[in-house]
């Protein structure tokens, strides 16, 4: 359809060439396969990890090449976005061009039916109806068709009556619906990445926080409100599997509590366009605990009040111990030993050394073989809840595109335009009725549609005969 126009100026020809390039289905196929192939990279190379890990894994030279190609953040890279962008342009140009060409086919002012096409249609079904005049049969069939089909026409050709009907013409728009849904999806995603954010905040029980750390960066961002964590609980099944993570949180705005919510996984809080999700949790040790020194010879226990960052004396002037750090999940030689304190032991004789004091393994320090085995007891924990905080103004559009995609895919694949031509002809043995059907793109479903219609009509014509 381009050959009859635009023979005029060079710029116009150039625009035409670009238009043709983007209108080709070959380009669609190439782009779809390129997106599929390049997407594999990001599933094999973990994305957005620590740069030093990549440098160690690939060596400095390969690392800098891969980094320049944004391989470590490929789904947000310029070239991946370019591919997506090209796909959207391709899709829009193809759709506009096809829709322009087929609009008149889809919505003609008058519907034409050609009897020959129905005579040749595959899967045509014929039967004989004795004892009923052709005219009466024609009326019965016409009435039935009026109820089930649109654009019903009846006319006489040679010695036959023809009844035509059509339906599902609008279903040809299904494929444009699918394309539109993809465009909306990409726009929704773009809106999200331009105007949205995603971050984390850790809120200790009883405390209030306002700033979040943005994902994949060290940047922080202040929210327009604060979040207070009133309580965090984690419950387990008897097998030890986690059953529920729950945070009771409150939203504080202008120093007033405006909303409270019991946050669970799969049950987020949405407040003023910002979504807050239960994401993780951690343990903070309380500031105070008991340090226990057990004499390795006599088994005698000496207890002292300890506090984070403070130093306690060992019994009998054997030295001093400073509790320096705490971890909720300490990994010792690859094994998670759970909550553990890190302390520095400064014996009266000998060198200063670090000691690990796992709370759940009070005998752990015996391995060190010192005069006293040290353990820490009576620890009261406080938890902090890890909240994921997101804002994505593109989500409503994305959800609309989801609904449209499902609907339009269904229409495209499982509905189709069908035209029906029914011939009613007098013959020696009675009246011959033949049902033929044609569809766009020779859809297999047309045979089933014709079979069902023929069965219905056989019933109808028999009833009218009986009546």
């Amino acid at each position: 359809m381009n050959n009859q126009k635009h023979a005029s100026t060079a710029p116009a020809a150039f625009v035409d060439r670009i238009w043709d390039f983007f209108a080709s289905v070959r380009l669609s196929v190439v782009l779809l396969l390129s997106l599929a192939a390049t997407s594999i990279i990001g599933t094999v190379i973990p994305q957005n990890a620590d740069p030093s890990l990549y440098a160690r894994k690939f060596g400095p030279d390969l690392y800098s090449v891969l980094d320049a190609l944004s391989i470590f953040n490929m789904y947000q890279s310029w070239w991946f976005r370019l591919l997506l962008c090209l796909l959207v342009i391709n899709l829009v140009v193809c759709s506009v061009r096809r829709l322009k060409a087929t609009w008149k086919v889809i919505f003609p002012k008058k519907t034409h039916f050609n009897p020959d096409r129905f005579k040749k249609a595959a899967g045509r079904i014929e039967w004989q109806v004795p004892d009923t005049p052709a005219g009466e049969l024609k009326d019965t069939i016409e009435q039935y068709m009026q109820k089930r089909y649109s654009h019903v026409q009846t006319r006489q050709e040679n010695d036959s009556w023809w009844i035509f009907g059509e339906r599902g013409r609008w279903t040809r728009l299904g494929v444009y619906g699918v394309h539109l849904s993809v465009v909306l999806l990409v726009i929704g995603g773009l809106i999200g990445s331009l105007f949205g954010f995603e971050g984390m905040m850790n809120v200790p029980e009883g405390e209030t926080r306002r700033s979040i750390t943005l994902r994949n960066s060290d940047e922080t961002r202040q929210l327009d409100f604060s979040v207070r964590c009133d309580d965090f609980t984690v419950s387990h099944y008897p097998s030890g599997r986690p059953k529920e993570y729950r945070s009771d949180i409150a939203i504080i705005e202008n120093e007033k509590e405006v909303e409270t919510h019991r946050l669970r996984v799969n049950d987020p809080l949405r407040y003023k366009g910002i979504n807050i999700f239960q994401s993780s949790y951690g343990q903070n040790a309380a500031e105070k605990f008991t340090v226990v020194f057990t004499d390795t010879d006599s088994g005698m226990r000496f207890e002292k009040q300890g506090a984070m960052g403070e130093t306690v004396d060992l019994p009998a002037g054997k030295g001093e111990l400073t509790v320096e750090d705490f971890s909720g999940n300490f990994a010792f030689r690859g094994h998670n030993v759970g909550p553990a304190f890190l302390a520095s032991l400064n014996p009266s004789s000998g060198e200063q050394r670090p000691v690990l004091l796992p709370v759940n393994y009070p005998k752990f320090d015996r391995m060190r073989g010192g005069d006293y085995a040290i353990s820490i007891e009576d620890v009261e924990y406080t938890y902090y809840t890890g909240l994921q905080v997101t804002r994505d103004p593109g989500v409503p559009l994305v959800y609309i595109s989801f609904a449209l995609m499902i609907l339009a895919c269904y229409v495209t694949f499982f509905m189709f335009q069908q035209k029906i031509g029914i011939e009613v002809q007098d013959s020696d043995t009675g009246v011959r009725v033949a049902v033929g059907g044609i569809s766009e793109r020779k859809r297999p479903g047309i045979r089933t549609a014709v079979r069902r219609l023929a069965a219905k009509l056989q019933k109808q014509t028999n009833q009218s005969t009986a009546g």
Partner: protein, 277 residues
């Protein structure tokens, strides 16, 4: 009363028996093994469904109460059921039985894989992230899609064998459905699979938005499901817009199913949220 695991073990062997009967019916061109094969496959599917319902009841008895679609074991069992049921509908509607050779071996292999000791078959209560009704919609739609693609791939392989054969209309290969029927069936299955894969990806995205606050995170499973979707989208465009038919479509259909298999199993080798841990 036997427990669901015992039932699934028995069902595995019934699928195996159905496979043997379908092969016998195909090679010896006898209608008796053919009809028996259909009956045995129906029995296997019924047993598979019964086991599924029983496992559901068992989870309630244990106090957890969840639809058994939450781990690799349960997904394999459901995958087998989807393939058997979709195939039986095709057999009924198209009166073709040779496809049963593929449609019974895949459920058999899936069930046999599920029975390996490395696949944990215990009923485990759901961790917090899985406690969502979107899980059910997501898994059911994804596996209906996977099953349709599996059958499409089986038919495509038959198509390739037939078109490479020196005598495509005689002997064992001659008993395959005619090329037009196979082409049509492949297309029907891919259209069905594409719709359900789309719904599966979308329900998964909505669930992710509910649980983690983002509908898409380029997690390896998500990405691989998109790769699969892109391959089948390519196939549909090549067929409708560029008129590809026959062997080229059959090859693309096989490639698509390789992507399905990788999405299903291969991704477990990569790190991510979906790795059935």
């Amino acid at each position: 009363m036997p427990n669901s695991e015992t039932i699934f073990t028995i069902v595995t062997f019934i699928y195996g028996l159905a496979f043997i009967l379908y092969v016998a019916a195909w090679i010896f061109k006898k209608s008796l093994p053919g009809k028996t094969a259909t009956g045995v496959l129906i029995a296997a599917a019924a047993g598979n469904s019964a086991g599924f319902v029983l496992r559901w009841a068992e989870s309630h008895q244990m106090g957890y109460g969840y639809v058994p679609l939450s781990n690799l074991y349960e997904s394999l069992v459901f995958f087998a059921l989807c393939i058997a049921v979709i195939y039986l509908v095709i057999e009924y509607r198209y009166k073709v039985r040779t496809i049963g050779v593929f449609a019974s071996i895949v459920p058999f292999l899936a069930m046999a894989y599920a029975s390996l000791p490395s696949v944990d078959s215990q009923i485990q209560p759901l961790i917090p992230a899985l406690q969502s009704n979107w899980l059910i919609a997501h898994v059911i739609t994804c596996f209906l899609g996977y099953a349709a693609f599996a059958i499409a791939c089986g038919i495509s392989i038959m198509y390739l064998i037939k078109s490479a054969s020196a005598s495509p209309d005689t002997g064992t290969v001659g008993r395959f459905p005619d090329a037009d029927t196979m082409d049509e069936l492949t297309h029907q299955m891919i259209a069905f699979g594409f719709l359900f894969l789309s719904v599966g990806i979308i329900t998964g995205a909505i669930w992710a938005d509910q649980a983690w606050g983002r509908y898409w995170g380029w997690d390896p499973k998500e990405t691989w499901s998109l790769i699969t979707w892109l391959i089948y989208a390519t196939l549909l465009h090549a067929r409708f817009m560029r008129g590809w038919e026959g062997r080229r479509i059959a090859y693309l259909s096989c490639l698509g199913f390789v992507a399905v298999l990788f999405t299903y199993f291969g991704v477990n080798l990569l790190p991510g949220l979906h790795s059935y841990q």
